[in-house]
């Protein structure tokens, strides 16, 4: 009997030891921080690079880049990341490993799909660029030859062809191609009588390139669409998510292990194996620490994932918004400058001035949009710091209204009143972003001639400001997203706008710890209320400015 008990004790002790050893090994395996961090960064890199490829593609399509080096580099990076992701970490366990494997397989499949879409895009777009660069050159040449024997009909046809070319990216594909082919027909029909051999050869080439443009343009647009529709970046996010799931799994497993180990600890106490108890206790606290750490890591991972998701959404919105908002002024600049280049000599002063004006206002619009986007970006990066200064409210309002003089009739519609102290301490630039945008919107979204009322009142510590219009109002369902970048209300109709104004207002107000509210009735008008706390007079007037990251502009 005694012998039997001793045997049992020994067996239990051995068993407990083996369990503790196993637990330690298991934990050691699941927590190889270096390998895990490396792997995780690969997974994230996948998402980043996939997004970069999309951006490159879009920029290449919109003609903002002149060469494919970046695209090629990012593609290569994408392939390398996918290759390095080949094996999921061994400690994932069977089921998670399987899920992970599936995600990886899908990501790889998508990458090869994207690769094919990009190859098609590249080759079609290179041909398209061939023809598009060649087209104006030829057109000009033909026009010059024609100049010897002027032919107004032909000249008109040439201008139409130019215009059609300039609008190719702006108009919907069917309309654009209709225009171009109509222009080409017109061109062909306008001239046969004067055709010398050389001229008709040139015309033939012109038409061939025109046809190439028509043929390729649709497939280039489709190529970009196709590639953007491939959810590679999204898939990378899913991969990331399965990582998070893995973390959760690991923390659960370690908890059940904990209870098991505790029970065994109890058994060994009963058996008087005190030494073992001590050892167990150490590993128990280590286990608790570990599971807490895992939970913490899990939380932060979840947080990052959400952030990443937000960025993805923002990017999508940004990309579609830029495509439209930046392209329109670009196309205006292109067409006006090309026409000026070709016809300036023959045009009269007013016609030239008109085109110069068009170019200037398009460039101005782009600059303003860039400013707003940058302001939002800086606010989100936390580097937008208000610089309050003493400012005369009356003077400020006067200069605000002066800015309206660009649009006729606007100045007369504004009723402005100020109450309270004349001097306030606020950041002038941010204030003008806030009031300027709200005023702009009020004017833009209400019928011509209707009044817009601004009331400013200064109290002890606060500036209250309301801006009220009798315009189209804001549908209720749009209110929650009103201040989100690139979101525009559903009833804006054909009124131009970037969807940035109110986002700028919100950022500018919030960095000054103020608030902005809106009340609106559809069809009756909107009222925005801004409250800004006045800044305390600082001991030293010069607040240190946070250094901004150096920004490189690209022509």
């Amino acid at each position: 009997m005694r012998h039997g008990r001793q045997l049992l004790r020994a067996a239990l002790a051995a068993c407990a030891l083996a369990c503790v050893g196993g637990a330690a090994r298991w934990l050691g395996q699941s927590l190889d921080p270096a390998a895990e961090a490396a792997y995780r960064s690969e997974v994230r890199l996948l998402g980043i690079v996939a997004a970069q490829v999309d951006e490159d593609l879009l920029r290449a399509h919109s003609g903002l880049v002149a060469h494919y080096d970046d695209l090629a580099r990012h593609l290569r990076q994408l392939r390398r990341v996918l290759a390095e992701l080949a094996l999921p970490p061994a400690e994932l366990g069977f089921e998670l490993g399987l899920a992970f494997e599936q995600h990886l397989g899908r990501a790889r499949e998508l990458a090869s799909l994207e690769q094919r879409a990009i190859e098609r895009f590249e080759s079609d777009s290179a041909v398209l660029r061939n023809s598009r660069q060649y087209f104006p050159v030829l057109l000009r040449e033909v026009t010059q030859r024609m100049a010897a024997s002027p032919d107004p009909e032909f000249e008109r046809a040439a201008i139409h062809a130019f215009e059609a070319l300039a609008y190719l990216d702006v108009l919907p594909p069917s309309e654009a191609s209709g225009r171009l082919s109509a222009a080409l027909d017109e061109l062909a029909g306008s001239n046969p009588s004067t055709a010398a051999a050389e001229l008709s050869r040139r015309l033939e080439l012109l038409q061939r390139h025109g046809r190439t443009i028509l043929e390729r343009h649709a497939s280039v647009a489709a190529g970009v669409q196709e590639s953007m529709a491939i959810p590679l970046a999204r898939e990378a996010l899913d991969l990331y998510e399965s990582y998070a799931a893995r973390q959760r799994g690991a923390s659960l497993a370690s908890r059940s292990l904990l209870t098991w180990v505790a029970m065994l600890g109890f058994a060994s106490i009963c058996l008087g194996l005190t030494e073992l108890v001590l050892r167990l206790q150490t590993s128990r606290s280590a286990l608790r620490r570990t599971s807490q750490e895992l939970e913490r890591a899990n939380r932060s991972l979840e947080h990052e994932r959400r952030k990443e998701q937000e960025i993805g959404e923002l990017k999508t919105r940004f990309v579609s918004a830029t495509a439209h908002e930046f392209k329109n002024p670009l196309a205006t600049i292109l067409s006006s400058s090309e026409m000026l280049e070709a016809y300036a000599a023959r045009w009269d002063e007013t016609r030239r001035a008109l085109h110069f004006k068009r170019i200037q206002s398009a460039a101005l619009r782009m600059t303003e949009m860039l400013d707003e986007v940058l302001l939002i970006g800086r606010a989100e990066a936390g580097v937008l710091v208000p610089v309050p200064e003493e400012l005369n409210l009356a003077e400020f309002c006067a200069s605000l209204l002066q800015g309206l003089e660009r649009s006729p009739g606007a100045r007369e519609r504004v009723r402005l009143s100020c109450r309270g102290a004349e001097w306030v301490r606020l950041d002038q630039r941010l204030l003008s972003h806030v009031l300027g945008n709200l005023l702009d919107n009020a004017l833009k979204y209400s019928p011509p001639g209707s009044p817009v009322v601004i009331e400013l009142s200064v109290s002890e510590s606060r500036l209250d400001c309301t801006i009220e219009d009798r315009g189209i109002g804001i549908p209720e369902q749009d209110l929650p997203n009103l201040f989100v970048s690139f979101q525009r209300a559903s009833n804006v109709g054909t009124v131009q706008g970037s969807g940035l104004g109110l986002a700028v207002v919100k950022r500018a107000v919030e960095t000054q710890h103020g608030s902005v509210e809106v009340s609106s009735e559809l069809g009756r008008g909107s009222k925005f209320t801004v409250r800004l706390p006045l800044a305390e007079p600082a001991a030293s007037d010069a607040l240190p400015l946070l250094a901004l990251p150096a920004v490189q502009s690209r022509r």
Binding site: R44, D69, S123, A126, Y134, L205, Q552
Partner: protein, 345 residues
Amino acid sequence: MRAQVFGALLLASNSCATSRQGADERRAEARDREPPRASETADPILPLPHSRTLDAGRVALGASLFQSPLLSGDASVSCASCHHEQQGWADRAAHTQVAARPATALNVPTLANLQYYFYFSWNGAYDDLAAHADSLLENPDIMGTTWSAVAARLAHAPGWQERFAAGFSTGLRPENIRAALVEYEASLSMPDSPFDRWLQGDGSAISVAAERGYRLFESRGCVSCHQGMLLGGNLFQRLGVMRDYDPAAMAKALHAEPAPAVESRAELGRFTLTGREEDRHVFRVPSLRNVALTAPYLHDGSVATLADVVDIMAEYQLGELLGPDENQSIVQFLDTLSGRSQGAP
């Protein structure tokens, strides 16, 4: 972090500060390869940077390996048998034939500026220099051996053991042979061409005619494929965009004897890789750097002179006939693309 998205989108600055460590390292690597950003303009062509810092010892070791016939299975040819420095690191023959090997199916491509390429070989089958080196070494029609066989052979030849021990902590190992070769290949950049100097603001670096040639190169559309730092090399494109590629018709137009047909599927470009009909005769767009040094031209070396190949490109890729003066200007421009070998470091 959103600011980064904005930054990347708006300003195309890849150098945006980032908190991502893994990405950081990669970006740093990418940055090393980037040209000086001072010249960042709307120009579709970027100047070639000076070589990034390389390990001088390994480069020298790689240079010796490059010249050594021990790297071929029958110890009869070296890398330098086909890639001659004086010929822009390419070969004058249309199809190179050395030491009882069949003639190469395609014209030997140049090694100059190799470190800036994204794809290797005519059909772009490789995007990694080391993998490409593997395939060349193991191809029985080229080197016909393996890295471990080379390592064993070098171990018996005098001097190599010591040199490898000096360059690599692990000494003479198969992977170190490849690493030394790749390091040497990365050193073969040829910056400082007259056109680079012109891009960097030296207005007198190229002649007026060459500058006119560059403008033609841009306006006629050549630049839509031959763009970027290498004037090509980053795209795949079909030979025969505006007119179907037909080698016999081409030879006839040039009043040349039709090239002795080399039976090879390699002529079909990326088709050999993918099997897709749309990839027939699709090749990596060749870089035009040092193009004046690397005659003959096209994948099969069937065109002997620069003037002819310019006409052919205009006709087949752009659908256009160039006047003789236009052709001459473009050739003069292409002449300004020859860089300087940097020599042994």
